[in-house]
C-alpha cells in the first residue's frame, strides 16, 4: 500500500573503488538510466553508509564543457555546474543532487564525491589508463593525446582493463591499489570492476621506439599533480592532494614510458 505523499524508492547502489554509494531516487526511468550506465558497478541490495539523494528537475540548456565549481561551506562541499547543483557532507557521508534525468550530471557528481572521499585517505583519481596483468596493476598517465587510450587499445588478451580515462588509486593498509572505474574516455567502455596492487605508474611519452626510463622523483610528483583530478581548490584539500602525490612517488615506482604506438610496447609491461 502506498501512503498519500509517499513514492516508491528506486534506489541504486553504485560501488566504485570499494565505496558503495546509494543513489536515492523515486523515478523508475532514472533508475533504469543508472543501471544502464553503471552496469557491473551496480550492487543490488548492498549495504552502504554513503548516499546521494537525487531530486530531478526539467532539463535545462548548459555548456557541456564548463568546469564544475566546488567549494566548502559550513563543513559541507557544494558543487555546481550548468546542469546540476549538489552538496556532500563528508562527516555524514551523504549529499543531495539537483539535476535532470541524465547520466552525465550524476557521473560528474560521483567523480567529485569520490575525489573528496579519496583525498582524506591518501588516494586520488588520476588522468590515466590502467590495467591488470599477472595480478598487478599498471597505470599509464599523461595529458590529453599522450596515449592513455592507445595503451588500452593495444593491450593483449591477458590484460584486464580498469579504465582508459580516470584511474582510481586507493591507499589500503599502506599499499596502493588501482580499482576499475566506469569512467571511460575515447574507448567508450567501462573498466572491469576489479582491483590489484599497483606495480608501477608510467608517464607516457610518444616516441619512435619503446623504452622505460628513470625519472627524477620531484619531476614525477610534479607531473602526477598535473594529472590528478582535482575539483576542490580549498587550501586544506590542495595540501592533502600534494601530500598524497609525494607519498605515492615515495612508495610506487614511477617511470617514463616512451612508446611507439604498436602492440610491442606491452612486451615491456608486467
Amino acid at each position: 500500500m502506498q501512503f498519500p505523499g509517499t513514492e516508491p524508492n528506486h534506489d541504486v547502489t553504485i560501488e566504485i573503488g570499494g565505496f558503495p554509494i546509494e543513489v536515492q531516487t523515486t523515478d523508475a526511468e532514472f533508475e533504469r538510466i543508472l543501471k544502464g550506465r553503471y552496469g557491473d558497478y551496480v550492487r543490488p541490495g548492498a549495504a552502504s553508509r554513503f548516499s546521494l539523494r537525487v531530486r530531478l528537475t526539467a532539463p535545462a540548456s548548459f555548456d557541456p564543457d564548463a568546469d564544475a565549481e566546488v567549494w566548502l561551506e559550513d563543513r559541507e562541499w557544494k558543487m555546481e555546474r550548468g546542469d546540476f547543483r549538489a552538496s556532500w557532507n563528508p562527516e555524514e557521508g551523504c549529499g543531495e543532487v539537483l539535476q535532470s534525468a541524465n547520466p552525465y550530471s550524476i557521473d560528474s557528481v560521483l567523480r567529485i564525491v569520490h575525489t573528496l572521499m579519496l583525498a582524506t585517505e591518501g588516494g586520488f583519481l588520476l588522468h590515466a589508463s590502467s590495467a591488470v596483468r599477472n595480478g598487478k596493476a599498471f597505470l599509464f598517465s599523461g595529458v590529453s593525446e599522450a596515449g592513455k587510450t592507445t595503451m588500452a587499445r593495444l593491450a593483449p588478451p591477458d590484460v584486464e582493463l580498469l579504465t582508459d580515462e580516470a584511474s582510481y588509486v586507493r591507499k589500503v593498509d599502506g599499499c596502493y591499489y588501482a580499482y576499475g572505474t566506469p569512467f571511460a574516455g575515447e574507448f567508450g567502455e567501462p573498466g572491469k570492476n576489479i582491483s590489484a596492487p599497483i606495480a608501477a605508474l608510467y608517464l607516457l611519452n610518444k616516441a619512435s621506439e619503446n623504452r622505460i626510463e628513470e625519472i627524477d622523483p620531484a619531476i614525477a610528483v610534479q607531473r602526477i599533480l598535473r594529472n590528478i583530478l582535482f575539483f576542490a581548490h580549498e587550501p586544506g584539500m590542495v595540501r592533502q592532494v600534494f601530500e598524497s602525490a609525494c607519498a605515492f612517488v615515495a612508495a610506487v615506482p614511477v617511470r617514463q614510458l616512451s612508446f611507439f604506438p604498436d602492440p610491442r610496447v606491452w612486451e615491456l609491461i608486467g
Partner: protein
C-alpha cells in the same frame, strides 16, 4: 652604505616536501608548483623570519659552495623575491616576531 637587511619567512599557504636534493613547494592558494634545487633547498630550510638573508647566505651557501658572498647574496635575493612574488614566502625589513608556543 650597508645594504638593508631582509628577513624572509615561509608562507603558511604552502605545502612543501624535500625529495632527494630537491624541494617541491605548492601554493595552496593557486596550486602553483615550484621545484627548488639543492641551493634553493638550503636557503628555503633556513628561512624562518628571524634570520637575515645575509646570514643565511653566509652560513648555508658560501660555507657549502664556491661562490663569492656578493654573488651568492645577489642570486639569493633574486630567488626570494621570485618566491615572494608568488606568495610562497614573505619578506620583512625587520625580524618577524615569533608566535609563542601555547
Amino acid at each position: 652604505m650597508a645594504a638593508m637587511e631582509i628577513y624572509p619567512s615561509q608562507s603558511a599557504d604552502i605545502a612543501s616536501r624535500t625529495i632527494g636534493d630537491d624541494t617541491l613547494i605548492m601554493s595552496t592558494l593557486d596550486s602553483t608548483i615550484f621545484v627548488l634545487n639543492s641551493v634553493g633547498t638550503a636557503i628555503w630550510n633556513a628561512v624562518d623570519g628571524k634570520t637575515p638573508l645575509s646570514q643565511i647566505v653566509h652560513d648555508r651557501v658560501c660555507a657549502e659552495y664556491e661562490v663569492t658572498n656578493e654573488q651568492a647574496f645577489a642570486d639569493a635575493k633574486e630567488f626570494v623575491d621570485r618566491l615572494a612574488a608568488h606568495g610562497i614566502l614573505s619578506i620583512s625589513d625587520a625580524p618577524i616576531p615569533q608566535k609563542e608556543a601555547p
